[in-house]
Symmetry: C2
Subunit: 230 residues, 2 copies
């Protein structure tokens, strides 16, 4: 609705073409620079977490991979999505600020980011403010073997799944017409989000099983105690 | 966007006044009838669940109350919200169908229901399709003392909280202008949704504690076993 009376549109690379983005400033960085910086930073975070997690002697490889995932996803939520959630005018940015460039680029896969769609902003806001810090807490919880480690990982994963579901369903209901072309549709909208469907699903299933098993063992333990009082 | 070129609007009791709802048919049932039927049906469901749950001798009162909550919320999700999610034209209904009447009435507190807002439809769809059946499974899980009982209740409660958060945040971002007047704003939009903030929060906290305790007991048990092999 914003700027709907400005009459200035079509000055951007996004779909649908009648989307109005008065004051839009095209991106300065190339796609390879934007993806490269994200890729290298992520690799750095994962490598450091892997090395750091190796110092705890009793950590399984799976736990160490999970710590890497939570560090990577937590920083993505906090920094990238946190910037988006609180920067309604990123598309007007003239300074080649990396974070604004990321979202100018990603909007080619989903223009609702530039258009400030309320559903997208809600989901990204919750992800940044709640799931970001919670993911970093999960790194700590796994490293220290905290008893809330599984339920925390389960909670964040469900939040990610719910957010992704709302994200895709709202786009579908609104006509699935927000990608510049099918390259961006599949590369950004589908592929870039796929990790946040597959990995949280796997983690949720694992935590569900671990927690159910622990509850069952505890219940059996209580029964045994009662029987042993002979 | 739908019907934006029809020019027919203002024929409905909803806000904002420029909302276009071509083909809108006013409600037939009075507010007291609509609320009365929901109240009496809910009371019936809760009473029957309470009686039924009393047949399991080892159920605590809290577990029995939780079974009542899950039966009530599950049927609300499945029937009321399920009808809404899959009835895009309920506001045109001419038959005094109770479920259509509920949403014609509720739309006075939040016209996004009649306007078919994508965020609202996504949240209601997920609630009806996933949380509805899952809530009824929770009644069964508590009644049978299943080991997945806590994690299931936790998962549904988080889903309810996430959905309610998206519901309120999207309205706020879009200007919080969807109630006919402040009576409907506070009675329907705020008060009617408050239970789905307070109760899932309490249940989540309880399940978090129960699960963390069970995981801790299991970890201690494993340590003790190792030490006992003396």
């Amino acid at each position: 609705m914003e700027g709907s009376d400005s009459g200035i549109y079509g000055n951007h690379p996004y779909a649908p073409r009648d989307l109005k983005l008065p004051g839009f400033v095209p991106g300065f960085l190339s796609q390879s620079t934007i993806l490269g910086v994200y890729g290298v930073s992520s690799l750095l975070v994962v490598s450091l977490t892997w090395l750091f997690s190796g110092r705890s002697p009793r950590k399984s490889k799976l736990d160490r991979w999970l710590m890497c995932w939570w560090a990577f996803t937590g920083l993505t939520h906090l920094i990238l999505e946190g910037y988006f959630a609180f920067s309604p005018e990123f598309y007007k940015n003239k300074t080649a600020c990396y974070l604004a460039e990321v979202w100018k680029e990603y909007s080619k896969g989903d223009s609702r980011y530039a258009a400030r769609d309320a559903g997208v902003v809600s989901v990204e806001g919750l992800t940044a403010v709640i799931e970001g810090p919670a993911s970093l807490l999960a790194v700590y919880a796994i490293s220290k073997g905290k008893p809330y480690s599984y339920i925390l990982q389960f909670a964040i994963s469900l939040g990610q799944l719910y957010g992704t579901a709302v994200y895709f369903i709202t786009a579908y209901l609104e006509g699935d017409k927000f990608a510049t072309n099918s390259f961006y549709y599949y590369a950004y909208y589908i592929a870039a989000n796929a990790s946040w469907v597959v990995i949280p699903t796997l983690i949720s299933i694992r935590c569900w099983k671990k927690i159910s098993a622990a509850v069952q063992v505890q219940a059996q333990g209580q029964d045994q105690k009662k029987n042993k009082t002979r």
